[in-house]
Amino acid sequence: MAAQELTGAEIVIKALVDQGVDTIFGYPGGAVLPIYDALFQQNKIRHILVRHEQGAVHAAEGYARSTGKPGVVLVTSGPGATNAITGLTDALMDSIPIVCLTGQVATHLIGSDAFQEADTVGITRHCTKHNWLVKSAPELARVMHEAFYVATHGRPGPVVIDIPKDVQFQKAEYAVSPHITHRTYRPVVKGDIDKIKQAIEIIANAKKPMFYTGGGVINSGPVASQLLREFVRLTGYPITSTLMGLGAYPASDKQWLGMLGMHGTYEANNAMHDCDVLINIGARFDDRVTGRLDAFSPNSKKIHVDIDASSINKNVHVDVGIIGDCAHVLEDMLRIWKSKARRPDKAALADWWKQIDTWRDRKSLAYKTNDEVIKPQQAIQRLYEMTKGREVYVTTEVGQHQMWAAQHFHFDDPNRWMTSGGLGTMGYGLPAAIGAQIAHPDALVVDIAGEASILMNIQEMSTAVQFMLPVKIFILNNEYMGMVRQWQQLLHEGRYSHSYSDSLPDFVKLAEAYGATGIRAEKPSELDAALKKMIETPGPVIFDCRVDQFENCYPMIPSGAAHNEMILGDDPEGASVSEEGKMLV
């Protein structure tokens, strides 16, 4: 039977359906009208209309991160594509699988500076894992399936398919299998077994070991988290994680030391500094984690498992680098550990835990409450306590509130925490919450926000209301771009240049203007009742939580400092930054 001829637009829809896509996030425009027309005439794919293309990509990221499936975006040419750039860069930095379809002017107009023309493949070459300009409909089906393959295999990331308008009208046969073998791109998933054996030897002989895991474990899928838990428990070793990896190992477990890095716990960072064996699984030695590189974990043997060969030995030289998928490598590690009947050095480990407990006793996340003003940490802690036991997904914007959320909201499962780690994109949280809510309609989805960040994509409130998505926006409102102010205090003698959030909207009225519910809490005594109301409100909520304006986020490794040079609180003694450190972000 000869394959039926379809238009390019129909090929796009068919390929999406064949890839198992049921939801896409987008915004129409001239150069994608044929695809929107094809969307109109089918009912297998649900389209979520966002209010800005950046929101579409972040929503797709939230969808992807909370489901493990790729997120799909559809935007028009020119400004549609350029508005998507921040989201694409965000997905690239955080390894989130995104397939972004962009309209393009007709092929004969390319290069003529046509209306809404932009060199989309040129512009997005640097912020995607790969991209394609499809110049004829017969290539379209193959490119679509190739794009899904590239986005989801190896280290995941965003891809762009730029489709000129005439190609969307052009007819061609659709005769490609969704399961392709890529000509050149075949990432390694199984780790080198000799290196894994070598790693197990080092791990088994450790006196002061430390697991340091990252977003790679989450990306690898729930099996990786299960295997990680089994391996970590079998060894009895302490474990910390990056911001992106939270939830892979349960925060309620006694071997969990909390997040590490710039705003990590005292115990996690000191253990990183003093350990003799560092086992990095799916993290990338990011500068927020390592602090001063030449003082980073100076006495440890380092093992690094990463699916991306270019992550190994990029920032930190390691002793054993294993290229592979976390789940595959962890499976082999466990098998070898068990078959060789490895036992950790009990006595050494007991001493190590004793040392760790002395660091824990510093209670680096402690804060002082009072009756007058809500502490931001307190607000998050109450939110956590009051939502415990529910199916909760948390997204954040970027800044102090993000770090407080990472410190005080605890995750026992992967895929529950969505935050912009690498790029640090203010405005990520609300659209990401929308994406997560679409994927999990009955779950409680909370965007922990700051009053400055939330305004960067506040227009997505309309999306939430239109699609009846009951996302809860929990704003820690301190009337400052808090992290900017904190750095200005630390580095620029308190000259708070343009970091005050002036002329803020009344967030309660703003919620009402969008047709949502607004809630405000100003005193600690009001907090619990207001939170209860937020949780129980069936629709979207903006919660304006007025918090202590001058609270800073501690503990903190100032830039240019080492893990064992943390600032624990607002004491002037510790709070100094070297001249070199001032140069760093």
Partner: protein
């Protein structure tokens, strides 16, 4: 942790799918991550397979060189990356077209020297020569250096192409 900070020069061969934008990806990688390009050549080498070979000469610390190779290798249209400086004994060649203008003794001397370099005259007028000279990059440098006082007016160089010695393909 000891870090080797010596700067090394490496010749890297990259076999890529000859698709639109592939060269831009490679060049963008170097500029975006702040790596050096000392020379870069590219041409299709297999019409049936649509593959091109890029030869890039770069310099950096051993850690940076490793990064460059790993970063190149993860580009989607890249088939293979070979460090010809490390993995194989390689031969390197470059071609230059060198224009020398002048008359009298200088012109005679230029012609005599070109013979010593086995350069060919591929264009001539009463007052100029264009020489074609092939060899390792330092031989080309030497030839250009010698031509400078003899009326050198223009140079066009191909950049380095390289291939491993012995019977194996890359």
């Amino acid at each position: 942790m000891k870090k080797d900070e010596t700067i090394e020069r490496h010749t890297i061969s990259v076999l890529v799918d000859n698709e639109a934008g592939v060269l831009a990806r490679v060049i963008g990688l170097f500029s975006g991550r702040g790596y050096n390009i000392e020379s870069l050549t590219v041409a299709e080498v297999d019409q049936a397979e649509h593959t091109s070979r890029i030869t890039v000469v770069t310099s950096g610390t051993p850690m940076v060189i490793e990064q460059i190779k790993a970063q190149l290798d993860r580009l989607v249209p890249v088939h293979r990356v070979i460090d010809l400086t490390v993995e194989a004994k390689a031969v390197e060649r470059e071609m230059a077209l060198v224009k020398v203008a002048g008359t009298g003794d200088k012109r005679v001397e230029a012609l005599r020297l070109s013979d010593a370099f086995r350069a060919r005259v591929i264009d001539t007028t009463h007052s100029s020569f264009v020489f074609e000279v092939t060899g390792a990059p330092d031989k080309i440098d030497a030839f250009i250096g010698l031509m400078r006082p003899l009326g050198l007016v223009d140079v066009s160089r191909t950049g380095v192409v390289a291939i491993a010695r012995g019977p194996e393909a890359m």
